[in-house]
């Protein structure tokens, strides 16, 4: 079976290094080469790669962000010059990595392992990647930007520009600047990763940017509507009222 490989690295010589090393392998085809994370998100979905060499430090979108946003789940070999935290994370979740300068012997071993892995069942692979993402998320401070992919375009929205997030099945609708973008995220992830001093969950399916709140309008029996500066009117679910009070003060 021919192994479809993709290389993502911002340094041309580093990509060339992987190409050189792959040239010594049998049944390998390089289906994509990307010079940064955004290019990777645009190219990879159509490349149908089995194996991805993914650099961690890249401009725009780093390797971990690419991992988070990838829809497919190819086997990934991370490449990095050094990142002790990441290395511990890879080891904890049995995910392969290559240290630069990349050593040929180590490369062969990684390739052999990847082939064995691809030939077997890979049922636990998505779970492993998921666990890695979660572990890496824990390291980061609050989420500052949202990656949006739409119609082959990849762009960012700063969280401070967001009016509110709204759950939509397995996706989240991001309302910002009068536009709505569908993003593959969960409310749990958002709740955990957004800055809790600014973003408040006011409903099972709504997280609001408290800086965008214009007024609270009382309805019957102590229920409130949250009205945003954009004019959007959102329902405050009663059980979430203490959370909003924690940010805005008592009302």
């Amino acid at each position: 079976m021919t192994l479809r490989c993709a290389i993502v690295d911002d340094e041309p010589l580093a990509r060339q290094r992987i190409r050189d090393l792959l040239a010594g392998e049998r049944n390998v085809e390089i289906v994509a080469e990307c010079e940064d994370g955004i290019a990777a998100l645009q190219t990879l979905p159509s490349a149908a790669a089995d194996l991805l060499f993914l650099d961690i430090q890249m401009p725009g979108l780093d390797g971990f962000e690419v991992l988070r946003e990838l829809d497919s789940e190819p086997v990934i070999i991370f490449t990095t010059a050094f990142d002790s935290y990441a290395l511990r994370a890879f080891e904890a979740h049995a995910i392969d990595y290559l240290l630069k300068p990349i050593d040929e012997e180590r490369f062969r071993a990684a390739m052999a392992r990847a082939r064995r892995f691809l030939e077997g069942t890979r049922e636990e692979w998505p779970a492993r990647l998921q666990a890695l993402v979660e572990r890496l998320d824990r390291r980061q401070e609050s989420l500052r930007r949202i990656v949006v992919k739409s119609a082959g375009r990849v762009f960012f929205i700063d969280t401070c520009e967001v009016d509110y997030f709204e759950a939509a099945g397995n996706y989240v609708r991001v309302h910002a600047g009068g536009e709505t973008h569908l993003v593959r995220l969960t409310m749990q992830t958002l709740d955990a990763r957004l800055d809790g001093r600014v973003f408040v969950r006011i409903h099972r399916s709504i997280i609001v940017n408290s800086a965008r709140i214009a007024e609270l309008q009382a309805r019957t029996r102590g229920d409130y509507d949250v009205v945003l500066r954009s004019g959007a009117r959102l329902e405050l679910q009663r059980s979430y009222r203490p959370r909003l009070q924690a940010v805005l003060g008592d009302f």
Binding site: E11, L13, P59, F82, P101
Partner: protein, 346 residues
């Protein structure tokens, strides 16, 4: 200290003139005898003042100050006592006084000196000691800042990213461009040699710093290829200027991190140095975007370190600022223009 004899003469002359003047004044006011007694007190206080003045002008050595104080006090008391005794005796010999000067009485009026002198001495000692300590601390701090900067540099350069990425490039170059690989290794070698050779020198000629940055940027240039454009422009006049060692490279590194390593697409880093009147102006431009870039820059530990080092080298006589410039950020540093001392240049 050189002015001490002149001051002493001036003091003595003024004092003698005062004594004569007062003698005339008091003679007219109180009669000769009263004037003579007042003058004896004046002579005494004159000695005291002279001793105190001497004490203030003298640099008290921090060690043995108690012994010094005791000796100085004894000498002052003896001198004041002798002076006053001689004066009284002179008056008695002339027949202006009926009785010879009484030793016990003289000793009792000189007694306050025994308290005053050591107190003044202790005060003086404490002031001098405090000043010494501050100076020692400042020197120490300057040294430790430099050590810190070197460590910081070595940390960031020996830091796996830079070196390992560079070595990874070499691994590729060996197959395709052996000469390029050799050049890269030579540059890496020179880069670390310069970093290590800066040793404990506080200041180096700008030329050396620029050479260092040239190696650094050349290495990054090989890594990032056509995406990165580096430029260095240095006025001839600025080349000999003295700058704190290892001040420029962290700024260039900051620009690299801020542009090519952060923003996709073509990137540029331009380092310039020129003289502007009595100022040396260094600028580092990058195209990593302005608004978000400013925060990325100021968050850097490197820049805070640079600011601290400049403050220690120049006090408040420097400027370090970030400006938005076109599609990127300009870091501008202005320092007093000084040239290296001859021996250091040679």
């Amino acid at each position: 200290m050189r002015r001490l004899p002149a001051l002493a003469v001036l003091f003595a002359a003024t004092y003698a003139a005062g004594v004569v003047l007062l003698l005339i004044l008091f003679d007219w006011q109180y009669g000769l005898l009263g004037a003579l007694h007042i003058n004896s007190a004046l002579i005494r206080s004159g000695f005291w003042c002279a001793a105190l003045a001497l004490l203030l002008l003298m640099r008290v050595p921090p060690r043995h100050w108690l012994l010094d104080a005791a000796l100085f006090t004894l000498l002052t008391i003896a001198a004041a006592f002798a002076g006053e005794y001689a004066y009284m005796h002179f008056l008695f010999a002339k027949g202006w006084l009926q009785e010879p000067p009484l030793l016990a009485a003289l000793i009792s009026v000189e007694a306050p000196l025994a308290v005053l002198m050591p107190a003044a001495m202790a005060g003086r000692y404490l002031a001098v000691a405090a000043r010494e300590r501050t100076r020692a601390l400042r020197v120490h701090e300057l040294e430790s800042r430099l050590a810190e900067a070197r460590l910081e540099l070595l940390r960031s350069q020996l830091q796996p990213h830079f070196l390992f990425n560079a070595l990874n490039s070499v691994a590729t170059l060996i197959r395709h461009d052996a000469a390029g690989a050799e050049a890269m290794l030579a540059r890496l070698g020179r880069f670390y040699a310069i970093a290590a050779a800066t040793e404990a020198r506080q200041f180096v000629a700008l030329r050396e710093e620029v050479g260092f940055v040239r190696e650094y940027l050349a290495i990054e240039q090989i890594r990032f290829g056509a995406r990165l454009r580096c430029e260095i422009e240095v006025d001839d006049a600025a080349s000999d200027a003295a700058v704190p060692a290892l001040i420029l490279q962290p700024l260039a590194e900051n620009a690299i991190k801020h542009s090519v390593a952060r923003v996709p697409g073509p990137a540029s880093v331009v380092v310039r140095a020129r003289c502007d009147g009595a100022r040396l102006v260094l600028t580092v431009d990058d195209n990593g975007g302005a608004a978000a870039g400013t925060s990325a820059h100021s968050d850097g530990v490197g820049l805070a370190n640079t600011r601290r080092r400049l403050a220690h080298a120049y006090g408040s006589d420097f400027a370090l600022e970030l400006q938005s410039a076109g599609s990127g950020t300009r870091l501008r540093v202005a320092l007093p223009l000084r040239t290296m001392p001859e021996k250091a240049v040679a």
